[in-house]
Amino acid sequence: MADTVLTINNINKSYGDNLILNGLSLDVHKGEVIVIIGPSGCGKSTLLRCINALEPIQGGEIRLDGELIDGNSRNIAQIRQKIGMVFQNYELFPHKTVLQNIILAPMKVQKRSKDEVTEEAEQLLERVGLLDKKDSYPRQLSGGQKQRVAIVRALCMHPEIMLFDEVTAALDPEMVREVLDTMLELAKNGSTMLIVTHEMNFARAIADRVIFLDGGEIVEEADPEDFFTYPKTERAQKFLDTFEYESVKHHDNEY
């Protein structure tokens, strides 16, 4: 059994009276890639945000490497460094160039030297094929390029775990591919990742484990092959069905 990096233990999260996450527990192991799928509004984003302490939780606990994650604790910035997060909307800092976006946090937060970080940033940019854009501003990039920079920016902090929240939802199909390819490569290289996505083919290809969330609970947890071919629960089956279409045409009429 590999090391457990992240432990989510029976957490509750509600907005007002609205219970969003209901006693959810999950362990993430080192090098594991977990894909979380589920209908809209089921609490996927909320879960990722709780892990990063962007939202307070009302019960249970989340630990990274055994350390409690708590938005009010003094060392929360410390812990957040170990968690890389990429959001749906390319949230690069618009007033900084690509390179500045990447090296800002390693320099300010980890107090690493500018030269060292720049070198690493350039290597990473090279890997995602964006080295020539290093002095561009975010507005000069396409959506897909922005997302790849956002991934590099998170990677450059050497996080223990990466969280991805529908990073391709706002992209054109071409760009979806280039971003997902970047993530596939990370997975190949052994990064620990928690991914929320609606790309079922991609989920199937990248996941070590698929978590199906509905109504704030884990409804099904399975190996991707099993899940996508024979989901155990009816809810998961129904969800997967929404991606299939019955042909309506007979193709017997000749034009």
Binding site: L54, Q81, M85, F93, H95, A105, K108
Partner: protein, 229 residues
Amino acid sequence: MQALVTDLGFDVLFKGTNFTRLLGGMWVTLKISLISVALSIVLGILLGVVMTFKNPVTKAICRVYLEIVRIMPQLVLLFIVYYGSARLIGLKFEPEFAAVIVFTFWGTAEMGDLVRGALQSIPKHQYESAYSLGLNRSQTYFSIVIPQTIRRLMPLSINLVTRMIKTTPLIVMIEVVEATKVARQIIDANRVASPNAAFGLFFVIFVLYFAVCWPISLLASHLEKKWSN
């Protein structure tokens, strides 16, 4: 042509130091506006930050302040500060100083509101991605939020300069000798020699104001376009 120049009083302009004095009057106007805007930016940023506080007391105070500035004509404020203050609290202000106080009082409110708007228009995601990179609150503020705010503010504060410049003719009422007052002095000193000087001088002042304000407006809208994406 010659007749027209004399008739409408343009010739008066070039008598003695008249034109230089007129420019000097314009400079008084510019000086007061620029000083006031500089002060307004500094104070406005502070006010803007205060306005984002959720504290009901500061909120109410700011609201009243903004409302006063919004609905009181600048001329009323000038009179209150220049004459009223002497009457009520015995403070003697130089007229230029009183003008700077009023313009700053007004500019700070406008800047404050702009700063508040700019701060609140920074998407939540910008804060969140900064936090998730491990930046703390003050790092997030200084590296991420404030620089973005300043870009949004730049064109708007430049616009404020033109609006102040356009308000300065009022300060003649508190005895500042600015361009319109100089014009009146010239008109009167030449009432025999050039009875129609009023047309020429007011036309020149009109042109002078336009020459000063228009480039500034253009700069503001240029920056606005440049930084809007």
